[in-house]
């Protein structure tokens, strides 16, 4: 199953996820975030807005590649993928 890696910034709000192996049953980014929401209710609204789009200052990578579909979150996940959910830095 794909494994999710979260920026440690998010552990400040969801401390019970710290040090957990976040393997999720998911074949798309959207499904992975839905699985995270089941583990940590409320986290989806940290990552996405109420329309389901990634927040502007959130970056999501599958392996080394940034996801393409920031609105629909349809990028495909393969069983061995690592999904990184990070804060986007714009300098400073």
């Amino acid at each position: 199953m794909p494994r999710v890696e979260l920026t440690r910034h998010l552990f400040a709000f969801f401390p019970h996820l710290t040090h957990r192996d976040l393997e999720v049953e998911a074949s798309t980014v959207r499904e992975a975030i839905a699985a995270l929401e089941r583990l940590a209710p409320g986290i989806a609204f940290y990552i996405c807005d109420e329309r389901g789009s990634l927040r502007p200052h959130v970056n999501v990578f599958i392996g080394d590649e940034r996801v393409v579909d920031r609105k629909g979150l349809t990028d495909r996940l393969r069983p061995n993928d690592r999904l990184f959910i990070l804060q986007a830095l714009s300098g400073g």
């Binding site: 998010l10 409320g42 609204f45 109420e50 329309r51 502007p56």
Partner: protein, 386 residues
């Protein structure tokens, strides 16, 4: 908790309590997070903090133990189908311009107010009034205001009128220019009577608990539209009422200080530009005497600085006929403090205000004398007595 001061800053929530005859601040939560507003629900004692995480969006936080611990509250979201007019584009065939619509997503939680039993109101950007009837367990968008004709009508149902008179505010987050609700005043005599102020649109009133709304901008003047007496397009920075005499309403506006003695039905310009009384953000009103109010003047909208480097509060006790500058204990040279709209508050004879340069001042004698509680807080967004 009662009588302590809640301070919302760019880097967390502070609680300031009396200690050895003075005031002592402590960092009470949300360390490192942008806090727009903190207030205490007088009915339940719950503290509410309105957060704006840079990466993670606007979040509602609450504490039921006086600020010792905080938790995410049920979050405010715009319902499916909520959208607003965000501009217009030329028609490809050269005909009339067509409005452009934008789905509403929560950009900023800006203010919170408490009404009748269980009623909690939150004002947001873009231009939403969210209402809870269960003490903040759930919030719904007030459709009467969202669908008001002044902003283009019911865009849930269709295309509306295609024209909005609600403009944006620079206080929007994320570089978007959208309208915002920063003032919500519930009449203590009748919780169905509610005033809101919108940047940039004006003041609206409901007398039926939010079902219907009407503009309350008669007598207002704006300096930045071709028609200075236009019904809409006003930029109230804050409105506030007298708790004991709620027909006395004060408005610090972008274009001056305005006062109403008839519940916001008509407004009178009570600015005194020659005395610095014109531009600013906050206004506080005496709890008992509706003719007494305090403002913190700033130098013009172009500069937004303390006037001539000297910070002062101006007080009127005669409904704006005259103003007294109150400077004792406030810095009078090299002061560049700006005081945001929610960052001045009063309780009895005690006043407190905080500035963008992290200074927090308190007066125990209605503004006659001020003492500095802290010099080096993060930029202060809001100051409220608990």
């Amino acid at each position: 908790m009662h009588g302590s001061i809640l301070v919302a800053t760019r880097k967390g929530t502070f609680i300031v309590e009396r200690s050895n005859g003075g005031w002592k601040p402590r960092l009470a939560g949300h360390v490192g997070a942008c806090v727009n507003f903190v207030a205490r629900d007088p009915a339940t004692g719950t503290l509410w903090a309105l957060l704006g995480h840079g990466h993670w969006g606007a979040k509602l936080s609450r504490s039921r133990d006086g600020g010792n611990t905080w938790e995410d509250a049920p979050q405010i979201t715009y319902p499916e189908g909520a959208r607003y007019i965000d501009g217009a584009e030329p028609s490809p065939d050269g005909g009339a311009a067509r409005p452009t619509f934008k789905p509403a997503t929560l950009l900023k939680l800006w203010c919170i107010a408490f009404g009748g039993p269980g009623e909690v109101y939150v004002g947001t950007i873009p231009g939403g009034l969210f209402v809870s009837r269960d003490g903040g367990e759930s919030f719904t968008l007030n459709r009467g205001l969202w669908n008001h004709p002044s902003r283009g009508g019911d865009l849930f149902a269709g295309e509306g009128t295609g024209v909005t008179h609600w403009f944006g505010t620079p206080a929007s987050e994320g570089g978007e220019f959208a309208p915002g609700i920063h003032s919500i005043v519930v009449d203590p005599r009748d919780p169905k009577r509610i005033l809101v102020a919108v940047s940039t649109a004006g003041v609206l009133e409901s007398t039926d608990g939010g079902e219907t709304w009407r503009g309350r901008n008669e007598g207002m003047r704006n300096d930045y539209l071709p028609d200075q007496a236009a019904e809409w397009g006003h930029d109230p920075h804050l409105i506030e009422i007298c708790r004991a005499a709620p027909d006395h309403v004060w408005q610090q506006n972008h274009c001056g200080v305005f006062y109403s003695e008839d519940g916001a039905r008509t407004w009178k310009d009570v600015s005194r530009p020659s005395e610095g009384v014109r531009f600013g953000f906050p206004v506080a009103v005496d709890e008992h005497d509706g003719r007494t109010a305090w403002i913190v003047p700033g130098r013009s909208d172009e500069q937004r600085m303390a006037i001539d480097g000297g910070l002062f509060v101006a007080r009127t006790e005669d409904g704006g006929e005259s103003w007294t500058p109150l400077r004792h204990g406030l810095p009078q040279e090299h002061a560049y403090d700006v005081v945001y709209r929610h960052a001045l508050h009063n309780r009895g004879d005690v006043l407190a205000f905080g500035s963008t340069t992290g200074n927090l001042f308190v007066s125990d004698d209605r503004g006659e004398h001020w003492s500095v509680v802290a010099h080096h807080l993060p930029p202060i967004h809001a100051v409220r007595f608990a």
